[in-house]
């Protein structure tokens, strides 16, 4: 049991340092969410292609102009279509995309509960 308390303290100390990580800025977050359109399956953040580098500069410009994350996504969506975004937005096109897994989860749980679990008499 003592080992535990020791380990728990270490964990606590670790977690304390996590406050540093909050500085990962919005620019990275946005470029990680954008598809590099001339690459085969890489994000703008990861890619070094001309297009990706230009987009990175553009995102920085727009952030400096004061646009927020959503506005930048909308701006790029307007130019290139929804395909450029890796995080599919919750629109009428994607209701099923987001909701089907959750739906299956609930159904699965219901089936398991009904069929398998013994109810107390």
């Amino acid at each position: 049991m003592n080992i535990f308390k020791y380990l728990i303290v270490i964990f606590f100390v670790f977690s304390f340092y996590t406050s540093n990580a909050q500085d990962k800025n919005t620019h990275n977050k946005i470029t990680k969410n954008l598809r590099c359109l001339i690459c085969q399956g890489q994000s703008v953040y990861d890619s070094d292609s001309e297009f990706a580098n230009s987009v990175k500069i553009l995102v920085e410009k727009k952030l400096n102009e004061g646009l927020n994350e959503k506005q930048i996504y909308d701006y790029l969506k307007n130019k290139y279509g929804e395909w450029i975004l890796y995080d599919p937005e919750f629109t009428k096109n994607t209701y099923f995309l987001w909701l089907l897994p959750i739906f299956f989860f609930i159904i699965g749980g219901a089936i398991i509960f009904k069929l398998f679990i013994k109810r107390k008499n």
Partner: protein, 625 residues
Amino acid sequence: MASSIGLYSLFFGLSSSFLIIFFSIRNFKNLNIFDNKIISLTFLQLLFVIISFIGLILSFVNSDFSNETVYNHSHTTKPLFYKISGTWGNHEGSLLLWLLVLTLFIFIFLITSKQQNKQYRILTLLFQQIIIIGFFIFIIKTSNPFNYIFPVPIEGLGLNPILQDPALAIHPPILYLGYVGSSIIFSSTLAATTLKYISKEWAKHIKQWVLISWIFLTLGILLGSIWAYYELGWGGFWFWDPVENVSLMPWLALTTLLHCILVLEKRLTLTSWVVVLSISTFTLSMSGTFLVRSGILNSVHTFANDPDRGLFILIFLFCLIFLALFIFFFFHKVQVKDLNNFHWLSKETSILINNWFMMYFLTVVLIGTIYPIFLEVISSEKISVGPPFYNKLIIPFLIPFLLAMAIGPKLKWIKSDLQNKLNLILFLVVSILLSAFIVRMLNINFLLNTILVSSAFYLFFVTSVDFLTKKFKNLSQNIAHFGFSLFVLSILFNNIFSTEIITNLKIGETFKTEKFEINFQNIEKNKEQNFVSIIGKFSVENLDGNSTIMEPELRIYNQPNIVTSEADIKTNIFEDKFMTMNIVQNQEYFNIRYQTKPFMIWIWISVLLISFGGLKSLFIKRYEK
């Protein structure tokens, strides 16, 4: 010459299928004596495929450019090792690898199942032959690795240099042993269902095959990720790319199946579900093959896209699906003996919970991968589904999943009493209180992260304590679950504590941040066998005054004409230092990306541990308390 032998061998191999089927059906009705001719013929078929495969390897090694596949994918200046591995690094060759594993596994199945019911063995062979014949025809008709071209070119078109890497060379064979190996599970399940042989004995027999397939699949995926990390230069190892997802889905089904077989082995129940899972695993493998080779999906590492091939696989796949559906509904009767009432606090229930969550994860990956296709067909809208989708839907559910992984193995079959569970509940309460306390100290955004970390730690503590005090009920499961907790923890800490610097530097310049000082010392140019190498020398000094020399490289290949960026990665048990370099267009500057990535090596080690857990289960008897 080697190519001709290879081609004829293919035809002989296909012919053996018909002989095998003939003798098998003839022997089927004789309940007593097993016709050993069948085993010999199966071996013969395996031999033909091996000869064919060697024929292709030799063609590559000899740079025989009269063979179209060799012409497209090889080059005289390629090092020997990569000429050989180039054999399976292309569409046609990899299909030959499929055949190799299909025929090898059924042969091993036949000679290791001699104590099993004779009709079951024959029927398994027959179902497997359906798959084998399908692949023979697919190869001969649409993907012949032995096409002859004339006039014979002097030089080949070369293999992509990114694929010239040791990890990637062995990744396909290992992956296929798992991926294609699940075909045995498929065939034997169909056979067992038809013969109404689903029983504890069958479960015990098939468990070995599930384990073998699972271990290889785990290692295969690991190798692919290691390759991506070391080779592709973006410092990531998993991108939720369709091809990655396609290997992950059978893995999820296989892991679920593994847990279910445990239940079936001990307490004859969940039989229908086991049958469904077994069929689904291989179906997912086949679907994956379809998605990746037909050109229907857009991805980093698809093979050459060809809709004709896609159509063949699609039809083949759905024939298999309908065959399986027919057999399941026609032959499978849910046994009345099936005990389907589990106490809520029992091992059976915890395995059901595992199934519940794993199937959820599977649906997330499946829907995420396939949905864009459906949407485009139905509404002509094109969307992307990338990492944010998968992360959002999977990560929150990992929390209860990890907790169940910790508690589940400790529960007894049928029913556990609450008394000895007081310790576990105490741990849980402590973990939750700790998280709440920490959350109040940190930013609220971290709620999810800290709860996730604490549930991973919970699993970590429980499994390590069990291991150290020898209180585990099953060592392999203990190791595997411990490995998984380590896996989640390594990824979490890696994400939280990674740092990155991106900047442009000229030779002689230094870039300073609070923690590092990067000095661009010089550049070295070398001419290698098939590329020109430009190595940048950088010294990175951290706060303690320790400096490391990083040497990222740029390679300019001549055949094909591409430039690749080779990251310099310095690995130790605490962190990886990762640096890549790229030329900035038209200037003398170089774009440098320097990352520190803590605990990277633990991600690989933890997956090795998980496979090791499986390996142990294969060899040593379990002592159940």
